[in-house]
């Protein structure tokens, strides 16, 4: 395998994983505050469609991106209202909105199917993109891909290094305690759920305006569900969630490389397109299995605890639980 090919593959993983990264980071933010936005798959589909439709109609990719974010944020706001103010079951509301989002995207997107439209322009970052190897892998994309990279670092920094970030963790972990310390729990939940939703919307826009240009039937192909799973197995930690997203991207890339290999010509193509999903779930199951416990038992306890902390995480204590304030 030559270096040129490796760079190309890695660069394509970075760009094609961007929607999953954005969606799972958005979901991480929202769940960290205690609200499950289960509507991811529907949100992504509807915002992808809206993003493309607006960009197509106005001939402005920027307006498309903004519209997609607005759609994601709006759905999240709906979930926040239903779960925080009305105290409805978050999972049920999210599921209904998933279905609604998918069906609406299909129905409203009909006039835009397979239309050529605008896309986000390619923009290598000056200087940075000239760095050997790293440059072409990370800094030779468009603005949306850069935002996906930035969202990982920024979310991690905000959550663990800033004071409002610690509050965010506290709100999701134990709202009663956060309230006792003067945090307005429900307002924080509204803010972070909506913000997370905007990132999910951005994931949709990245799909239709950058990765898989345009709009077609079932365009976003179930990535919402995989993003939800990645958040759980990533232990609600933005860095691990991002790692999970790129691992999924790697599996998909490997699939398409193998598919082009003549040795596998007789294997049906559906195998290659669906295998990453199965493999992803399998890996995640493996990481959380008892076997890992046994392996950890063999290590010195200090190291074992560190590794355990690094590969696993527990759900925020207040996840999915409405909080009655005052």
């Amino acid at each position: 395998m030559n270096v040129e090919f490796l760079i190309q593959t890695l660069a394509s993983i970075v760009s094609s994983s961007a929607p999953v990264v954005l969606a799972s980071i958005g979901e991480t933010i929202s769940e960290k505050s205690g609200v499950i936005n289960l509507s991811l798959d529907g949100s992504i589909a509807l915002s992808a469609m809206t993003g493309f439709a607006v960009a197509y109609t106005t001939d402005s990719a920027t307006l498309g991106v903004l519209a997609a974010m607005a759609v994601g944020a709006l759905i999240a706001l709906l979930i926040a209202f239903a779960s925080i103010t009305l105290r409805l079951e978050q999972v049920a509301v999210g599921f209904v909105l998933t279905m609604l989002g998918l069906e609406l995207a299909d129905f409203l997107g009909n006039p835009f199917v397979r239309q050529p439209g605008p896309s986000i322009p390619h923009w290598p970052i000056p200087l940075l993109s000239d760095i050997p190897f790293i440059g072409p892998v990370l800094f030779n994309h468009n603005i949306l891909i850069y935002i996906s990279l930035l969202s990982i670092v920024a979310t991690w920094w905000w959550m663990y290094k800033t004071q409002p970030g610690i509050k965010l963790q506290g709100v999701g972990e134990r709202p009663e305690s956060a309230f006792a310390r003067g945090v307005n729990v429900n307002r924080m939940r509204y803010v972070y759920t909506t913000l997370g939703g905007a990132l999910v919307g951005l994931a949709g826009a990245t799909y239709s305006l950058s990765i898989k240009l345009g709009w077609s039937h079932r365009h976003t192909a179930g990535i919402g569900w995989i993003a939800l799973a990645i958040v759980i197995f990533g232990g609600w930690n933005p860095l691990r969630v991002a790692a999970g997203s790129y691992f999924f991207g790697l599996l998909k890339a490997l699939g398409s490389i193998l598919q082009r290999n003549p040795a596998f010509a007789s294997v049906p193509t559906q195998i290659f397109s669906s295998a990453p999903f199965a493999l992803m779930i399998f890996t995640l199951l493996l990481l959380s299995s008892k076997g890992v416990d046994r392996l950890l038992d063999m290590l010195p306890p200090r190291l074992a605890r560190r590794i355990d902390r690094a590969i696993r995480g527990r759900a925020p204590g207040g996840l999915g639980r409405p909080f009655e304030q005052g």
Partner: protein, 501 residues
């Protein structure tokens, strides 16, 4: 700082939790708030600290009337509360717990926070690792963290709600020393909410007694216990009856059983419990006693040795077989393992009936529930959901759920969180079962309880099971030594009836 509560009224539905309560908290003293379960102590303190709004009445701080809309506002005025279950963040680090709500800048100064934590910790001789996760702390350490946090926020009045529940004896001693230090050296006010007479006696300068939401009396300490008991219950407690029961044939035989777990492996446990005998288990939390008890119940797998009930080997049998053999297991965590949130009392009794018909005869079930509710003095109705009951009443429901005929009763903290009267009542019910030949094994953190009710006591220390001692041959002090892993006193050693099994 002087705090006055004047004629406080607070009701929930038709229940009058506080019915015209007045009390004054002076600075530089420890003020006990005594009362049995459900007397309105916690409600009163929650009203003072802004968790609940009062219906009527006045709260004055240094003579100025105040009204706190939230706990954060109360702490800004220097009044902080340590809750029975500390209000912290289990999965976050100690330092982050400390900083949350304390440092309000965008980027908190962790170094300064850590220094502040360390400085306060040194002042009270608390050792808290700022990088440890709160889940890895004991309840006692979590309390210490909360106390330091409240002090860092400038609390002049610190309220502690039943702080000795679930903490070890050394931690309790440390807590009491800290509270004295706060009151005597730093002239802060401490309110100590408790239903435990001896603790109030030991610690407090002054006591207010609540009963059914009203103040029944105030007293300067020291004060005769009989007076306090009368204020708490309206009458003196009758001494507990101790029927003597001849111990029958062995019911439980544990021979060299090893119980592995992720954190701790308890090796080579040996115990024989005879019919009608009561065996108490002591030890610091997490010393292996719970694993052992659960293994006896068939809920933990053993890797060596054998467990037999009534001579029948059940070492690797499923829990069902243990139940068939006539055991019952009463877990400590009532709401997680004992009762089902959302089900009514009737549904609980129907569910406990293992061999009932496919269709439930609700009429009979309701009748049965009503009978047991009456027999066990549960304050609740057949159709009340179990989570609506108070802790003490939930414990009564658990007891009421036990089958009539039992060979072996295994319990964790059977009276934790109950007041004196309720626990006496509970023990009367339990001891009555000995007449039918039931053997009892129970874990308790309350050494007095162990000495009073157990025939023999087993101590667990760091995953090791020490040889049982006869309760009449040991003292609180002797047990304390064993629990702390030191050589037991001479008296306890002589009396230690070593198990032949």
């Amino acid at each position: 700082m002087k705090v006055e509560l004047i004629d406080i009224h607070k009701h929930f539905g038709s229940v009058r939790a506080n019915d015209g309560v007045s009390m004054t908290i002076e600075s530089g003293s420890i003020h006990g708030l005594l009362g049995e379960n459900g007397a309105g102590k916690t409600t009163l303190m929650k009203c003072l600290t802004g968790y609940q709004t009062i219906d009527s009445g006045t709260i004055k701080v240094n003579g100025q009337p105040v009204a706190f809309a939230s706990p954060a506002e109360a702490i800004r005025h220097g009044i902080g509360m340590l809750h029975q279950e500390p209000l912290d963040f289990p999965q976050m680090r100690v330092l982050d717990n400390f900083l949350l709500g304390f440092d309000t800048r965008l980027i908190p100064d962790r170094r300064a926070g850590q220094n502040r934590l360390q400085e306060l910790g040194t002042r009270f001789r608390f050792e808290l690792d700022p990088d440890a996760e709160v889940t890895s702390l004991t309840i006692g350490e979590r309390q210490q963290l909360e106390i330091l946090r409240l002090l860092a926020l400038g609390a002049q009045v610190i309220i502690l709600d039943e702080p000795t529940t679930g903490i070890s004896a050394p931690q309790k001693a440390k807590l009491f020393a800290t509270l004295r230090q706060l009151a005597d050296d730093e002239r802060r006010s401490v309110v100590f909410v408790s239903h435990k007479l001896e603790e109030v006696e030991q610690l407090c300068d002054r006591v207010t007694v609540l009963r059914h939401g009203r103040v029944t009396g105030e007293a300067e300490m020291p004060c005769p216990v009989s007076t306090l008991v009368e204020l708490m219950f309206g009458r003196s407690l009758p001494p507990l009856e101790c029927p003597t029961v001849e111990h029958g044939p062995p019911v439980l035989q544990v021979e060299g059983a090893t119980i592995p777990s992720y954190r701790l492996t308890v090796a080579d446990t040996r115990l024989e419990v005879r019919s009608g005998e009561v065996v108490g288990i002591a030890g610091l939390e997490g010393s292996g006693q719970r694993l052992f008890l659960r293994a006896c119940a068939g809920l933990e797998r053993i890797t060596a040795g054998r467990i037999a009930i009534d001579g029948k080997a059940l070492s690797h049998a499923p829990y069902r077989k243990f139940l068939d053999a006539g055991i019952a297991y009463l877990p400590a965590n009532r709401m997680d393992e004992g009762l089902v949130t959302g089900l009514t009392l009737t549904e609980h009794f129907a569910l406990a009936n293992r061999t009932g018909p496919f269709f439930i005869d609700w009429q009979a079930a309701r009748k049965e529930a009503a009978e047991r509710i009456q027999h066990y003095n549960v304050i609740g109705r057949p159709e009340s959901p179990v989570e609506a009951l108070s802790g003490g009443n939930q414990q009564r429901v658990l007891l009421a759920l036990l089958r009539q005929k039992l060979r072996l009763l295994l319990m964790e903290h059977p009276t934790r969180g109950l007041d004196v009267e309720s626990s006496n009542w509970v023990w009367q019910q339990l001891l009555a079962r000995r007449e039918d030949g039931t053997a009892i094994v129970f874990i308790s953190a309350d050494l007095d309880e162990l000495l009073e009710y157990a025939d023999r006591i087993v101590v667990f220390y760091g995953g090791r099971m020490l040889a049982p001692v006869a309760a009449c041959d040991t003292t609180v002090e002797g047990l304390g030594y064993m629990i702390a892993g030191k050589e037991p006193g001479a008296g306890a050693q002589q009396g230690g009836a070593h198990d032949e099994a």
